[in-house]
């Protein structure tokens, strides 16, 4: 049993090792994406700093600082969750582009192990990027984390990662079945989640039907909980109302996403979609 588990960990690690090797070879592109992440996060932070000038409203430094942190928590948490979401679909799309998807799918690796390995690789990358972006942004914009409850924030991030893994597995079905435009379909799903999850604003400003969608997005709870933890120092008891819905979404989305992927794999094998032509 233990031997079998360690064998599965070994198999899953193959995907982590592969991603690390690819990141080394594509280091210049990684740098480009890091700069892109820093620039977009900084742009959001400067919108916060400029809010009094734009609106002609309150220029109290404490209020402005809180608003900047409000926006930064949203953008960086979204960057972390978004990377998890994107990376799964992009890896499938990449394998289709390189033509390696057939080798990967005919290897004696249980699909669950394969996907867990991809998720682990994705988490490593998302965590590295998010920490680097936060550190870079802090060099330009004063970030007041004096009230932050870091432990609560980490618990929320871990929960959000789990919840997003299910969504990411489900969405990677698009590039699996549609080589040319599948990834763009996954991006549309991601954009809808961004719109309804209160990344830059409270969900209460949304129309009623969008608020209904925000209820099923795990990002809604994770981002709200992260704000409570990092702006107001909320402890575990206070983040629980945002934690349990994210856990429920994760508990539902992972098996559903996995089932969807397995169905898509069977469909692809029935219709010959694992190969583009011939």
């Amino acid at each position: 049993m233990i031997g079998s588990a360690s064998a599965q960990v070994g198999l899953a690690y193959a995907f982590v090792e592969r991603e690390i090797a690819l990141s080394k070879r594509y280091w210049a592109w990684e740098l480009v994406w890091l700069v892109y992440g820093v620039v977009t996060s900084l742009s959001v932070a400067y919108i916060g700093l400029a809010a009094p000038a734009i609106t002609g409203g309150d220029s109290d430094p404490a209020a402005v600082s809180r608003f900047v942190l409000y926006l930064l928590v949203g953008t960086i948490t979204w960057r972390f969750l978004g990377l998890i979401f994107e990376q799964m679909g992009e890896t499938i799309a990449w394998e289709r582009w390189e033509g390696t998807i057939e080798s990967t799918f005919m290897a004696p690796v249980p699909r669950l192990t394969h996907l867990l390995g991809m998720c682990a690789a994705t988490l490593v990358r998302a965590l590295g990027f998010s920490v680097a972006i936060l550190a870079a942004v802090a060099l330009f914009v004063p970030v007041d984390l004096s009230h932050a409850n870091v432990a609560s924030a980490l618990v929320l991030l871990a929960t959000g990662a789990v919840a997003f893994i299910g969504l990411a597995i489900g969405s990677s079905v698009f590039p699996l079945l549609w080589t040319e435009k599948g990834l763009q379909m996954a991006y549309i799903v991601q954009a809808v989640v961004l719109l309804v999850s209160g990344v830059y604003y409270p969900t209460t400003v949304l129309p009623g039907w969008m608020q209904a969608l925000s209820v099923i997005s795990p990002a809604t709870y994770v981002i709200q909980g992260m704000r409570d933890a990092l702006l107001d120092g909320a402890d575990f008891a206070r983040i629980w109302p945002n934690l349990w819905p994210a856990l429920v979404v994760g508990a539902v989305s992972i098996p559903v996403g996995l089932r969807l992927f397995l169905w898509a794999e069977r469909y692809a094998k029935r219709t010959g979609r694992l190969k583009r032509s011939g």
Partner: protein
């Protein structure tokens, strides 16, 4: 090209490494307009057995269904009808166990092209449960036998020639020491020297490692040179099967090319050209 009569090592009792029974596979075209397009029957009622330790050559023109058949045997496609067994295991019900016994080389060498041969092969080894400590010396040994020098092993694969990439693909398949190796036109596009090196390696693989090999080709010389038995595939159907000598005896003698022409009504080169024109 005369058919060579060769002595083959024959086992006392034949064990089926692969048995396919009445396998069918058709593809429907994308529905651009309602009811548009015709269903293509890629594999039509094919039954064949490949015995353990045998090199079985599947000969056919472009579009005859060779690659589809290899994909069906590789678990990458599911048949519409029929049954496929690998060493007695059902390819659908025992998929994971079957995957441990097989490997495949496709006509296109597909890799992470920015990674080196060594990185790609270490990754491939891990997928088959071979640790890097065990795989690295094995990789070096296999690549040496295939004529790839040490310095080329750590270069990104995109910098290697098509022939070298195909050799790395063969090394990847061999790394997992498969019981059944499926080679889908492994020498297509290679120069004469590389072709010979690969053919020698394939035969050594069978002789030294008790591997069973199913090889598809549209190269008559290669089929005659390597295969113990040959199956001729024409428009998705297996129209003849036997040793080169048996095929010649059954179908009017002469060369393998004469046999192909008798069975399909076309020369293999003409069939390829016609199919190429049809697909453009």
């Amino acid at each position: 090209m005369a058919i060579q009569v060769r002595e083959r090592k024959r086992t006392e009792k034949k064990t089926a490494a692969l048995s396919a029974s009445q396998v069918r596979k058709a593809f429907r075209p994308a529905r651009v307009v309602p009811g548009g397009g015709t269903t293509v029957r890629a594999v039509d009622d094919v039954s064949l057995s490949v015995w353990r330790g045998e090199i079985y050559g599947l000969l056919g023109a472009n579009g005859s269904g060779k690659s589809t058949l290899i994909r069906l045997f590789s678990t990458l496609l599911t048949p519409d009808a029929g049954e496929v067994r690998i060493f007695g295991l059902d390819i659908d019900r025992d998929e994971l166990a079957v995957k441990r016994l097989i490997n495949r080389v496709s006509v296109e060498a597909s890799f992470f092209k920015k990674l080196s041969a060594m990185e790609n092969l270490v990754y491939a080894g891990r997928l088959y449960g071979v640790s890097p400590d065990d795989s690295r010396p094995k990789i070096v040994s296999i690549l040496h036998r295939l004529g790839i020098e040490d310095a080329r092993m750590t270069e990104p694969l995109e910098k290697l020639s098509r022939g070298m990439q195909q050799k790395v693909a063969i090394a990847r398949a061999f790394l997992s020491t498969p019981m059944l190796l499926l080679l889908d036109e492994p020498t297509t596009g290679l120069d004469i020297r590389s072709k010979r090196e690969v053919q020698t390696f394939v035969r050594d693989l069978r002789d030294e490692h008790d591997a069973t090999i199913l090889l598809t080709t549209h190269d008559l010389d290669e089929a005659a040179r390597l295969a113990d038995r040959i199956g001729i595939l024409h428009r998705g159907r297996l129209v003849a099967e036997g040793t080169p000598e048996e095929l010649a005896a059954r179908h009017g003698g002469g060369t393998l090319e004469d046999v192909f022409m008798t069975l399909t009504g076309r020369r293999l080169d003409d069939a390829d050209a016609t199919d190429a024109e049809r697909s453009t």
